[in-house]
């Protein structure tokens, strides 16, 4: 039994060697961050500013260090309120803590109240404030603090919190939301090779917390979970330690755990046409579904990589199934990283240089009736399995205008034909409707729960 894919084309008797791999070409973390699209803040602060924040004794990230004569670094911070939720077209931060919840109450009012509380906590947390108004070290001496405290002294490091609603929330006999359910908000179908763990899949609600500081992302999820006790229960969480996408034109393209540059051809935050066409949910004539207009769909796939097997593949095979070079991420048809792939260019045997079963060919808009997606995934390692292999891979997240047109057909093709898929195992899956952003005084999902 093999995965159904044809294995490597037979290599001619030469080896391309990986000298390029020895080259230290991952830019260090201290590069200037792209300025937020909303133009708020964000010059020149990377993860490196953490230390400075400690040294300067920042109070909850509210102020800047003032030592030295140079302009103090401005903490990277994104506004919470806006037309769209932050954390989608926001330049991808370095770390992720993702949480999915099951709603345990059957009261719609209680759930609405939670969303209100989550919204106000999120508005505070993303601005570097404690989760509650009292703070981690003040208030009634006989009461527990309303913030857990591990973020004291840390700046928000670009924290964004993005909320979503799973299909199960709209089922009959729950909150009376059946008629509000958009037709595309469905559990994903089975794809060839899926080996999904139900305990790590699905969920009624989700929170995507992204920050350049893992402790900040975790702090946010922890405090939101705490606020939710009694109303929701944590279903699964996923930690991601390295972004595998760039979502802003200035961002250095990072690498995934296959060592490949990932995010090259991604939709970028400064491509409004692509965002409108492929990411945000479009207007609908049906007023019952209008609550999602301007929002998006989040599809999450926990994809294990058989990295031990991958590492034993020749550089020839690795580049072939990818369709891009490992060193530069250039298309196999030539050029540099951002050159357009030429899918028609052939080599000596008449085979295309970008192989028919390569990931890039199969995922490219040219081969998918113009479909694009905004990818925002993260590398993960969750220890190892009982057989001594790293439980590692890519926690794939994508935001699309409609999963039925923008995710399912592409995943179906990839699962069946993608040469890369042979080294992958999808182990969890979830889909959420992500409502649009909120204005001050509103709460996330207000149109459904007010």
């Amino acid at each position: 039994m093999r995965r159904r894919l044809a294995p490597a084309g037979q290599p001619p008797p030469t080896t391309a060697d990986s000298a390029a791999l020895l080259k230290p070409d991952r830019e260090s973390g201290g590069t200037a961050r792209a300025v937020s699209r909303r133009g708020l803040l964000g010059a020149g602060v990377g993860a490196a500013s953490l230390g400075a924040a400690f040294a300067g004794g920042m109070g909850l990230g509210r102020s800047n260090t003032t030592s030295g004569t140079e302009a103090p670094p401005v903490p990277l911070q994104y506004p919470f309120y806006g037309e769209h939720q932050a954390g989608i077209s926001t330049p991808a931060q370095d770390r992720l803590h993702f949480a999915a919840f099951d709603v345990t109450t059957s009261s719609k009012a209680e759930l609405g109240a939670l969303l209100k509380n989550w919204t106000s906590a999120a508005a505070r947390l993303t601005q570097g404030l404690p989760a509650g108004v009292v703070g981690p070290t003040s208030g009634d001496y006989d009461a527990p603090p309303d913030d857990t405290g591990e973020a004291i002294g840390l700046p928000p490091a670009g924290l964004t919190l993005t909320f979503g609603f799973g299909p199960s929330l709209f089922e009959a006999d729950r909150f009376g939301l059946e008629s509000r359910r958009p037709a595309s908000l469905q559990q994903l179908p089975h794809f060839p090779g899926d080996l999904l763990d139900p305990r790590r899949s699905g969920g009624d609600l989700c929170v995507q917390a992204c920050s350049d500081d893992p402790q900040i992302a975790m702090h946010a999820v922890r405090n939101l979970a705490r606020i939710g006790f009694g109303t929701v229960s944590l279903r699964w969480t996923q930690f991601g330690f390295g972004r595998t996408s760039s979502t802003a034109s200035g961002q250095v393209t990072p690498r995934n755990l296959f060592g490949l540059k990932d995010g090259t051809a991604n939709i970028k935050s400064d491509e409004p046409t692509y965002l409108n066409d492929h990411v945000w949910v479009k207007r609908t004539p049906d007023p019952a579904k209008a609550w999602l207009v301007g929002g998006s769909y989040l599809v999450a796939r926990r994809i294990n990589m058989n990295i031990e097997t991958w590492d034993r593949q020749s550089l020839r095979e690795q580049e072939r199934v990818t369709g891009r070079s490992k060193a530069e991420g250039a298309p196999m048809s030539g050029g540099t990283e951002f050159s357009e792939p030429d899918f028609n260019l052939t080599g000596r045997s008449g085979e295309p240089l970008i192989a028919d079963d390569s990931h890039v060919r199969l995922a490219h808009p040219d081969q998918n009736s113009g479909i694009r997606m905004l990818r925002r995934g993260y590398n993960f390692v969750d220890g190892n399995d009982p057989l001594g292999r790293l439980d590692a891979g890519l926690f794939f997240i994508t935001f699309v205008t409609d999963p039925v047109t923008h995710f399912i057909p592409m995943q179906a093709r990839l699962s069946q034909h993608d040469g890369l898929h042979k080294y992958l195992q999808h182990t969890a899956s979830a889909v959420f409707a992500v409502p649009p952003g909120v204005a001050e005084g509103e709460f996330v999902g207000q149109a459904l729960f007010a």
Binding site: A6, P7, T14, T15, A330, G347, L353, L387, S415
Partner: protein, 398 residues
Amino acid sequence: MPVRLTGYGLLVVVPASLLLMPLTAGCTGSSRSGAATPGSGTDSRHLTVRATDAACTVTPDSAPSGSLRFTVTNASSSVTEFLLLDQDQLRIVGKVEDLGPGLARDLVVTAAPGAYFSVCKPGLAGVGIRAPFSVSDSGTSLAPAASNADLVNAATTSYAAYVERQTDQLMAGTAEFMAAYLAGRDDQARALYPKARTHWERIETLERFADLDARMDLPEAELAHGELWTGWHRLEKDLWPARARGYQRLSKTDRRLYAEDLAEATEQLQTRARTTRYTTAQIANATKELMEEAATAKVTGRAEYWSRTDLWDLQANLDGARAGYEALRPLVRRQDPNLAAAIDTKMAALQKLLDRQRKGDGFASYDSVSEDGLRQLSDAVNGLSEPLSQLTAASREG
């Protein structure tokens, strides 16, 4: 590919190990296309080739004998290739094929002292741009310069015969199994199932059979939405439905339908095997992929989900890998004796572990193996896969 120095318990130095040297100063600078650029003579065995539309500049144009690395950059506007030819310009010592414009790739060859020719073929056309390239005697002892043609020929002949034999036996075993299955003698069918499949599992990774693989050996989880499930595992589920929820046994007619499809596919396999020869690269790839199969599907108990006969398959994968390797072994021994020794050791180690799981004329059920036992098998498969991943490079025909 950089060598892993631990792991085998042996120091395995493959020719490509020179790659570890570029860590010295000269090679860390990067060209536009990312491959390392050789420096100011710190490594006289690392050369650059700049292939433009009109020129093919090899710098320097000579090197001491040994393992040479050419970093070829395509600075032309079309697809190119680079070849290193022997003195008579007949034999290809090594080549970089199908290099897109702007890209760079390395070629690693072992070169004995003598005269050679470098060739670039911009646009893959014509005789290309040729220039002499000389290799001086460095005193480094090399594998005999003699042609490997005899060894290559022996390898491909014996391996083709092996594959043919397996398909013949598969045909016979399948017929016997089907007779029992169609007559409703399920106990007998269950006993024959893993035996017949052994002959398939020994050759399952050959690229030539990929389409038949999907028809004969697809596990249920690999099915696309709405796709018809055929092959061995469809019958397997029918014979061992214990793990299936609410399973409805196949009717007599359906049994016949699936059996006939499998028989037909097996026949095609047999016919194809009679007329196919395999290059050493194809043999090497199929061999290492058998161990990858073992690692991802057999050691994990995913292949034989219903029957739990994964260890039979694991043994068959190992048999097949051994056959492929035995065919190539003389070639590998000539080119990289340390690698041959490592593979010998690791194959024996895996076999020893598997022997402990023997039961009757076959193997214990996957479920009866302890977690510790599985862990050891997994480690042994990995231990063997590691040197096998060097097999393609070490059994080059050149």
